[in-house]
């Protein structure tokens, strides 16, 4: 098992419970593990939530963390995967001055080439949205930075795995 640190995407299927975020983040906090990004949403199963957490750590330690997460009563199942085993995306939005669209022609090229899109334009500002890998988003950020960015926000990673996650089957076995 690898003792080198690498990025892992942790996928946690849970009941939709108010205090659970606290319980899960505390497990990382106790071991001083910095969460690179965190996303919660509903999952493919009705009534089941999904946490997607990205951390940089060794496989030996992520296995222990997964065990301690799964031990929580309202956690159904937790998985960890490296980047090769997942298909993942992040999303970001930029707010910029509308004048730039007319004064700086290359901005339109940047938007086109980076597969970003303009969400809205008004007199004062326009908003660009881009989904992709972290590096692509960082590249776009660097390209736009020189023009002056009024606001920038990047989302946490969302991911699906190449491997099948048999949550429905698992829930059935739990209930029998």
């Amino acid at each position: 098992m690898s003792t080198e640190k690498q990025l892992y995407t942790v996928s946690i299927y849970t009941e939709n419970n108010i205090g659970l975020l606290n319980r899960i983040s505390a497990i990382f906090q106790r071991r001083h593990i910095n969460i690179e990004s965190l996303n919660t949403s509903s999952s493919e199963i009705e009534g089941v939530s999904k946490f997607t957490i990205v951390v940089n750590m060794t496989e030996v330690n992520i296995k222990k963390i997964i065990g301690q997460i799964e031990k929580q009563v309202e956690v159904i199942k937790a998985y960890y995967h490296n980047d090769d085993e997942t298909i993942y995306q992040e999303s970001c939005i930029f707010k910029m001055k509308s004048d730039l669209l007319f004064d700086e022609r290359q901005i339109q090229n940047i938007i086109k080439e980076s597969n970003a899109r303009i969400v809205t334009v008004n007199k004062e500002f326009f908003v660009i949205e881009k989904s992709g890998k972290k590096e692509e988003i960082e590249l776009l950020y660097r390209e736009l930075r020189g023009f002056g960015i009024m606001q920038f926000t990047r989302s946490g990673r969302i991911a699906v795995t190449k491997e099948e996650m048999k949550i429905s089957i698992l829930l059935e076995t739990y209930n029998n």
Binding site: E15, G19, A26, E70, V73, E74, V75
Partner: protein
Amino acid sequence: MHNKNKKMETQTIKNKKTATKVTEIISGSEAVVRCLIAEDVKIIYGYPGGAIMPVYDELYKYRDKIHHVLTRHEQGATHSAQGFARISGKVGVAIATSGPGATNLITGIADAQIDSTPLVCITGQVPSHLLGSDAFQETDIVGISTPVTKWNCQVTRAVDIPAALAKAFYIARSGRPGPVLVDITKDAQFEEFDFSYEKCTKVRSYLPVPKTDIATIEAAAKLINEAKKPFIIWGQGIILSEAELQLKAVVEKAGIPAAWTILGASALPTSHPLNVGMLGMHGNYAPNKLTNECDVLIAIGMRFDDRVTGSLSTYAKQAKVIHFEIDAAEVDKNVKTDVAVLGDAKASLELLLPLLNENSHPEWHQQFKDLYAIEYEKVIKGDLHPTKEGLTMGEVIKEINIQSKGEAAIVTDVGQHQMIACRYAEFNKTKSNITSGGLGTMGFGLPAAIGAKMAAPEREVVSISGDGGYQMTIQELGTIFQQKTAVKMVVLNNEFLGMVRQWQQLFFDKRYASTEMVNPNFVAIAEAYYLKARKVTKREDLKEAVAEMMASKEAYFLEVVVEKEGNVFPMIPSGASVSEIRLE
């Protein structure tokens, strides 16, 4: 429709095929008490206050069904509930008000969490419209207790109370047990609703006992059958799953020497020839040394705590490791296993037993005996049969052993007296060692003894404390007096925080920083609570004083002044290997 003052009972046909269901409109607070009754709770420990008053009002009405014990501090309530749970195997219940009442429960909850003790804690909370507003006695107890509970929740509607408590009891007692907390807002306690109670038998996302893979049992049996030097180390899992007889059968059939963690003590009688003693920092010499010589290490219901393993990089590296464990998160957490058998200890050992060959390993046993002889000469003889002036803690424990005939439940606090008591107490019965292991909570002993005695009034319960820990929860003498709880209390007084002083002596060049205690008149304090009390300073008085204590039908306090600077040996220095265990 919902008349606040009058209980309404109407009958409605719920299911045409079967019977009629009684609609019962009651308050949330009454529902709390009714849920406890439905869970067969007869004794609870707690302390009233504003946000829990409606529940106390119902406890008053139902006082013939549930005995509420007013402790003198909420910490005492949790420790008493723990003592109750540990001796009976049932769920202990503690109740407190919001704010400080709730936060005072935390030490006991944390103790129960790390020592896998089933507790249900109920706290009152400010009315739901005030939540988050920094109201009087408001604290986010769900947030505060999250890292130290197996599960917790807040209830803001009366209608949710029965399901929350049913789930709480189920989670607390099932699988690897632990503490849960249910926080109930005051408006939910007042609100009325149609009550019905159904016990919880499953939670969708929770698998209390993992399925046992028979292949792992077979792999374990093969390793054990091929072993020349097999060694069993067991923990509280044996007691929690009530696998004492199965452990004994395995040990005897395969002829395997077996040692215990502090919380596993008493699962196998002390006198059993294959019981080779305590593991860990102040455990016995042979089991620690030979951990690093066995060829197959069989861990059952224990979690390889650092106080047991010492340095992990030098722990049992030569051995194949088998781990019988109910909590999958414990497998490979500290020690890498070769065979992990997930599941309940009792069921797993029952499956294992028929696969084991009969064996005796006489040469291997001899190694344990030889090392015991060394420990006896260097440590045990001096502890139990001292010739120097000054009473030793060991001889007090020995006297209690003799006079209780090994039948007493020993409740200890934390420190030197705890290590000595666990090393030398003789246990004939299981569930006889009640102590704070994982958290090491000073002040645990006295209130835990109260709970233990109440849960098992037929048993002799002897609380043994040091002069430090005793004073951390000394106020519970008031509970003992009011409840007339016949606990026997022994304080081994060396006028020091002895364990810390020992470390200061050994590792901090005898700089005794804040470990010397100037103590009060302990006998006078006990007598102020109208308890029988006595102080012993001389060896010749010990036997008679212990006899008087044991003969007492009511609570009895015995202070024994012991040597001031006695040390507990053997000792594995912090971070050292188990094979570096020191005898002096």
